[in-house]
C-alpha cells in the first residue's frame, strides 16, 4: 500500500504514486521528479547525502498536501522524499498531482515543491570534487505568510 506522503531511504516509485492519485474523473496527472544534478554553483558534484528529521518532515509533507487541498480542493496529491546517499541522476523527491484539468495539477505540483524547499526539515550534504558542504536554504517557518504567498505566486505564474 503506497502512502500519500513518505520520507524513505528507498528508491522512489513514481508509477506507484501515479496509481495512487489517478482516477476516472482526472484528465490530467502531473509527475515531478527532483534529480541529483552533477553540478552546483560551479562545483562538480559527485553525490548527495540527504538527512532528515523524519517525524517532523513527514508532518511537514502532510501539511503541504493539506495546504494544497485548501487551495485546489479537486487536486489529489502524493509526495515522497528520499533520504540517505543518492547518486547523480537519482530522484530525491517525487510529486504527483491529479486533477480534472491540467492547470490545477501543474499549479499544485509547483506549489508543493516550493513549499518543500521552504519548510520541510531535510538537508543536503553535498560532496563535490575537492570537498563537501552542507547546503543551507530557507529558515523553516510554516507560519511565515510571506513564504507561503511566494510559493503561491510561483505556482500560479
Amino acid at each position: 500500500m503506497t502512502a500519500t506522503t513518505a520520507i524513505t531511504p528507498a528508491v522512489l516509485d513514481l508509477q506507484a504514486l501515479v496509481r495512487l492519485v489517478e482516477g476516472p474523473g482526472h484528465g490530467a496527472v502531473v509527475a515531478f521528479l527532483g534529480l541529483v544534478r552533477d553540478h552546483n554553483v560551479g562545483r562538480r558534484v559527485t553525490h548527495l547525502v540527504y538527512e532528515s528529521y523524519d517525524v517532523l518532515a513527514l508532518k511537514a509533507l502532510d501539511r503541504i498536501v493539506q495546504e494544497a487541498a485548501e487551495h485546489w480542493p479537486s487536486v489529489r496529491m502524493a509526495v515522497h522524499h528520499r533520504t540517505g546517499r543518492l547518486e547523480i541522476g537519482e530522484a530525491s523527491v517525487a510529486i504527483v498531482t491529479a486533477s480534472a484539468h491540467r492547470a490545477d495539477a501543474f499549479s499544485a505540483s509547483r506549489y508543493a515543491i516550493e513549499r518543500i524547499k521552504q519548510i520541510v526539515p531535510i538537508w543536503k550534504h553535498e560532496y563535490f570534487e575537492g570537498g563537501d558542504a552542507w547546503i543551507e536554504g530557507a529558515t523553516a517557518d510554516p507560519d511565515n505568510v510571506d513564504a507561503r504567498a511566494h510559493a503561491m505566486r510561483m505556482a500560479c505564474a
Binding site: Y53, K59, K117, V120, H125, W134, I135, E136, G137, D143
Partner: protein, 81 residues
C-alpha cells in the same frame, strides 16, 4: 529538568552528536536551552536568526516553554527537494 536535544546537518557536525541530553532550569524556554548550547559550542552562534526549532516534533518558537523529558530539535536552514 532534563531534555533531549536533537541536532541536524551542520549543527550536528558542530555539536559532535545528533542527540544530547541537557539540563534546563525549571520554567526554561527553547531560547534558554539554545543560549546554553551556544556557550558550549561557539560555532552555533552564527545561526542566530536563521534557525528554526521544534518541541516534541512540532514546529515551535524560541519563546516556547519546555518541560522535563521534552525533545527539542534545532533546525538549520533546510535544503530538501
Amino acid at each position: 529538568m532534563r531534555v533531549t536535544v536533537r541536532l541536524f546537518a551542520r549543527l550536528r557536525d558542530l555539536g559532535g552528536a545528533g542527540e544530547l541530553s541537557r539540563e534546563v532550569p525549571p520554567g526554561g524556554t527553547v531560547a534558554d536551552l539554545w543560549t546554553g548550547l551556544v556557550r558550549e559550542f561557539p560555532g552555533f552562534a552564527a545561526y542566530g536568526q536563521s534557525l528554526s526549532c521544534a518541541v516534541n516534533a512540532e514546529y515551535a518558537k524560541f519563546h516556547t516553554p519546555i518541560a522535563d523529558g521534552d525533545e527539542v530539535a534545532f533546525l538549520p536552514p533546510v535544503s530538501g527537494g
